[in-house]
């Protein structure tokens, strides 16, 4: 069974009004079980919209979204996914531990179970010593790790991430990427990861889905098979080949003419 099935999805905001925007047009996407898929594209290409559709935070105008074999709405009701945004969105009045416990509380787990599970998740992101701290006391990278621990707390089969490392510096970003890969490998979680960094997408993913704007649609799908996902992987020729391939897909030009159409992909870096 696929983790996510998207069939013929179109999303139009403010339909029938003067400010009508077609965010997505006729999108088909499948995410296999245990697969790590990145969505990449210029600003306004609808990648975040696509993620929110999978999360059932918004509903498609036409088409269907299926998560783990169920309609997206039913999957959300069952907390079949964990989600993390660019802003950690931690609740400032709760300690780190209580923040991670939040989704478990809403699931109705007992106090002891919640605490044990949350501590386990904090250990996973290397923050077990900060359980009693408040979010305001932590640095941005640490807050983001708490947010990831929170997303993982219900041990969801699917992880949705919307530029989770976007606000972090390069060093922290690379460390968290490795940590995320480790977590996904141990838990077997399927992941949909929105980013606008080409190298991040290539390093993390089994597949990079390239999108273009106005209207948002999928223009290419690049399968990545790195020899290893560590420092050696970052230096391998395959890594650079795939980066070039994604970059060209973003620019929408064949390999022979890499400089043309740069404007279209300019904000995709």
């Amino acid at each position: 069974m696929n983790a996510v099935d998207i069939n013929g999805v179109t999303k139009t905001f403010n339909q029938g009004r003067a400010d009508e925007v077609v965010a997505l047009s006729e999108v088909d996407l499948t995410v296999g079980d245990g697969e790590f898929v990145s969505l990449i594209g210029p600003s306004g290409c609808g990648k975040s919209t696509l993620l929110r559709l999978i999360a059932d935070l918004i509903t498609p105008t036409t088409g269907t979204v299926t998560v783990a074999g169920k309609p997206a709405g039913a999957a959300r009701q069952e907390q079949a996914y964990g989600i993390a945004f660019q802003q950690s969105g931690l609740f400032e009045w709760r300690t780190v531990l209580k923040n991670v416990e939040l989704p478990l509380e809403l699931r109705g787990l007992s106090r002891a179970e919640r605490k044990a599970r949350a501590e386990q998740m904090l250990a996973l992101v290397g923050l077990e010593d900060f359980a009693g701290h408040y979010p305001a006391q932590l640095s941005g990278g640490m807050q983001q790790r708490v947010a990831i621990a929170r997303a993982l707390a219900v041990q969801p089969p699917l992880l949705l991430m919307d530029e989770p490392f976007g606000a972090l510096d390069e060093m922290t970003r690379e460390r968290l990427q490795s940590e995320l890969l480790g977590i996904c490998a141990t838990t077997g979680t399927s992941t949909v990861f929105v980013t606008h960094s080409i190298s991040e997408a290539v390093f993390l993913s089994n597949r990079v889905v390239v999108m273009s704007a106005r209207p948002g649609r999928i223009t290419a799908s690049v399968t990545v098979d790195l020899p290893s996902r560590d420092e050696a992987g970052r230096l391998s020729p395959v890594f650079f080949e795939k980066i070039t391939e994604v970059r060209q897909a973003l620019r929408g030009t064949p390999a022979a003419r890499p400089t043309e159409g740069a404007a279209a992909g300019s904000d995709a870096r």
């Binding site: 999360a55 907390q79 996914y81 945004f85 802003q87 969105g89 009045w93 809403l106 305001a136």
Partner: protein
């Protein structure tokens, strides 16, 4: 400890200001182009502070109880009325805010009237409310109603603002957890609103005191400090210090209420002050 010192310093400053003006001010007041811009500084208009303090110790009427006991008792009576008004007002304000947050239509329809309610002169309202005294409620409760009428407003407006303060991502997060309206209210909106609630409650406390004092006067309710001010001011020409004892009591009442309200804050806002950022 330090706070107490600041309060004492504030009191000392006020005392110096009062006596200082008495020393240098024109006893007939300063008149500029036919308008008195500064008050009279004579003993009839501004008795010495020690006269006021000394008046507190003397009997109210010949052979009666000392004034300070009468004032304290009146203040306690008004404190009771204020407390009842504050609690009712705060509850009504909270409920209105929650209703307005829940239903857009209620917010649109109700908020203008909530604001309008505060522009209705209290003096116009008081006789209507006073009519309820002795029939559907005891007379003192009508004063509480007036206090509540003033107190609900800051709570309703401040709390609505607070309930609407969570970021869109916070609301989306709760939606992703399949949390309904009630659980989003309890787990997200309410805690987010606390920093807005407490300043609103402090305003409500002050408004309730004003409401109680003015309410006592305009409904003619006996026993409170508002009534005492009116009674004593009738004797202002013969005994100017007396009315100031009652005013001192009213001011003290306001301080006590403000203090009690800020005590509410201590257990709930404990976690929001520390800011020792760990950088790792």
């Amino acid at each position: 400890m330090r706070k107490t010192l600041y309060v004492l310093a504030g009191l000392a400053f006020f005392a110096v200001l009062w006596e200082g003006y008495k020393l240098v001010g024109n006893p007939e007041g300063t008149v500029l182009l036919g308008v008195r811009v500064l008050p009279r500084a004579d003993d009839l208009s501004m008795p010495h502070l020690w006269t006021v303090v000394e008046r507190l110790g003397r009997p109210e009427l010949t052979g009666g109880r000392p004034v300070w006991i009468v004032v304290v008792q009146a203040c306690l009576f008004t404190l009771g009325i204020t407390a009842a008004g504050f609690v009712i007002g705060a509850l009504v304000g909270l409920l209105l805010a929650v209703a307005m947050e829940r239903f857009r239509l209620v917010e649109r329809g109700l908020l203008p009237y909530v604001i309008l309610s505060q522009t209705v002169p209290l003096v116009a309202l008081a006789p209507l409310v006073a009519g309820w005294g002795g029939t559907i409620m005891p007379p003192w409760a009508t004063v509480s109603v007036i206090a509540a009428y003033l107190a609900f407003f800051p709570v309703a407006v401040g709390m609505l603002r607070g309930l609407q303060s969570p970021s869109a991502s916070g609301v989306e997060l709760m939606r992703s957890y399949a949390a309904g309206w009630w659980r989003t209210l309890v787990k997200l909106r309410f805690p987010s609103a606390l920093p807005y609630l407490f300043p609103a409650l402090r305003l409500a406390g002050a408004a309730a005191v004003v409401g109680a004092v003015v309410g006592e006067i305009s409904t003619g309710t006996r026993g409170g400090v508002g009534r005492l001010i009116i009674e004593y001011s009738r004797e202002a020409t013969s005994d100017p210090a007396k009315v100031y004892t009652a005013m001192l009591g009213a001011a003290l009442l306001g301080l006590v209420v403000a203090g009690l309200v800020s005590l509410l804050e201590v257990p709930l806002m404990r976690h929001r002050r520390h800011v020792e950022v760990v950088t790792l």
